[in-house]
């Protein structure tokens, strides 16, 4: 296995115990590889198996069949459990149910404390993690008085304080307002660009996928397709069969085209659309 693969799924299937007799798989024969430093977005409708994938990736769930490799380590080997969790951190949807302590910095310290690091090291990591998510000024605040977006950033800080190589975020913005969502997205992009952290962002907001390196489209327990945002969003019919929609800007482009505005394909961001329209009016 090459050095630069962080996470690898090899023919992974997973069945929840309750579903065993129905023979229903939450994840069916999935294979993919994620390289270090990549920014991956996972898209899929409700119940398609996204959260299951998140929990398979750091040994919370063990595959019913197949293998999950974290930096070459098999997650189903018991000794690898903690090393895998150190390598890949997972952030969940509801920040309220991830925060353990009442004070921001004490919560962020929870992970490093579990790793039995020396006190100085914990202090350094907590400060660094809080700065990375822009919550350093809040380090002595009570966690239950923060806004949803701030809580989620604390939850992310709690993970990055363990200095994982990769971070999987399972719909971290689902419970947030647009401002909170934008903050989280910015934070996640900073982690990827500036700290070089591998990011797997699970979401059902198409807009959040626009700046990904690659998109995985999950449909009914399988990875239906992987590709760049350009490739994925230029196939509206395919997205529809997967129960997904185009990003808003792409939808707008389609409507404009129907009304006779000539636009090039593959415009997905508002900025690109504005640029194109300005160019056209200037030419006219």
């Amino acid at each position: 296995m090459e050095q630069d693969t962080l996470l690898k799924f090899e023919n992974v299937s997973y069945t929840y115990e309750e579903e065993e007799e129905n023979n229903r798989l939450a994840v069916r024969n999935i294979s993919f590889e994620i390289k270090k430093g990549e920014f991956i977005v996972v898209l899929g409708h409700n119940g398609s198996g996204k959260s299951t994938i998140a929990k398979l990736s750091n040994s919370i769930y063990l595959p019913t069949s197949g293998r999950v490799l974290v930096d070459g380590m098999d997650t189903s080997v018991e000794e690898n459990e903690i090393p895998c969790r150190k390598k890949i951190g997972v952030v969940f949807q509801n920040p309220d149910n991830q925060i353990v302590a009442s004070i921001v910095e004490e919560d962020v310290a929870f992970g490093p404390e579990n790793l039995n690091l020396p006190q100085k090291e914990i202090r350094a990591r907590v400060d660094e993690a809080l700065k990375a998510v822009g919550m350093y000024e809040y380090r002595l605040h009570e966690t239950h008085r923060l806004s949803g977006g701030q809580k989620q950033r604390v939850a992310i800080a709690g993970i990055i304080a363990m200095r994982p190589a990769g971070i999987v975020l399972d719909e971290p913005t689902a419970m947030l307002d647009p401002k909170g969502r934008a903050d989280i997205l910015e934070t996640v992009h900073t982690l990827n660009k500036e700290l070089g952290m591998t990011v797997v962002l699970i979401t059902h907001f198409m807009e959040e996928a626009l700046h990904a390196d690659r998109i995985f489209v999950i449909n009914d327990a399988v990875v239906e397709r992987t590709g760049t945002p350009d490739e994925i969003f230029s196939d509206a019919a395919f997205l529809e069969t997967c129960g997904l929609e185009l990003p808003d800007t792409a939808k707008l482009c389609l409507l404009l085209k129907k009304r006779g505005v000539s636009l090039p394909d593959r415009i997905f961001t508002p900025e690109a659309l504005i640029e194109e329209l300005v160019r056209q009016t200037e030419r006219a």
């Binding site: 353990v100 302590a101 004070i103 004490e106 929870f110 490093p112 579990n114 966690t143």
Partner: protein, 281 residues
Amino acid sequence: MIKDITIGQFFPGSSPIHKLDPRAKILILLVYIITLFLVKNFFSLLLLFLFSFICVLISKISAKSVWKSIRALIFIVIFTAVLQIVYNKNGTVLLKPFPQFDFCITSGGVFTAVFLVLRIIALILLSSLLTYTTSPTMLTDAIERLLSPLKLFHIKVHSLAMMMTIALRFIPTLIREIDIIMSAQKARGAKLDAGKFGERIKALISVFVPLFVSSFRRAAELAVAMECRCYTDGANRSRLKVMRFALRDYLAFFICAVIFAGALVVNYVPLCQSLLFERVI
């Protein structure tokens, strides 16, 4: 109303009381409570009351928060006082408002009432000061350390402490949740604050069932999140804040020892009492 609950609240600050080692605070509070209940003498009580009052002043906790903690128990305070005034027949009769009845207010009753009220308030002041000035994590950490000898009896002290940390962390969350569920059930016509006692109890069930269900879901999610952060059984955890007794803690022990001993001496040595009484009265 339910939002007024202040258990386990913490007001970050940098007063000397905030800076004391939480273990020192817990030990001092324990000895204080014991002394408070041993003391039968008014001067000793006054000394102890002043002690907790001054501690509150030093901590710079706002009067409002202090009042809140007293208000939560004000009913008990008033109840105790009234009971004493009505039933205590010791001492001289001060007032006999209804000559036809046996009822009278005696000096003994008033004295005991004042005594008990002071005692309860002193108790509330210093115990709420402990949670007001100590972060919940530090508090449970301290309890864990103080109880660590119990490990000899195979008691999982760490798990107990972790449970307390989480309980304290979730109190505000659950209080808010109760509030939301109550509003939701009221919107559907549940009679939560009107109607017969039986009806209200039934309506309360409609609040607690969803609360339990959601708490279990929360617990499951929290457990997974903790595992993701490499939590195992907590046997080998280091700490962000290391507790070490410093000079100020020894100083605090010394001052408290002197004051508590003083209170006990006044209480138990008859000579002191008569001396004091002669001076004051």
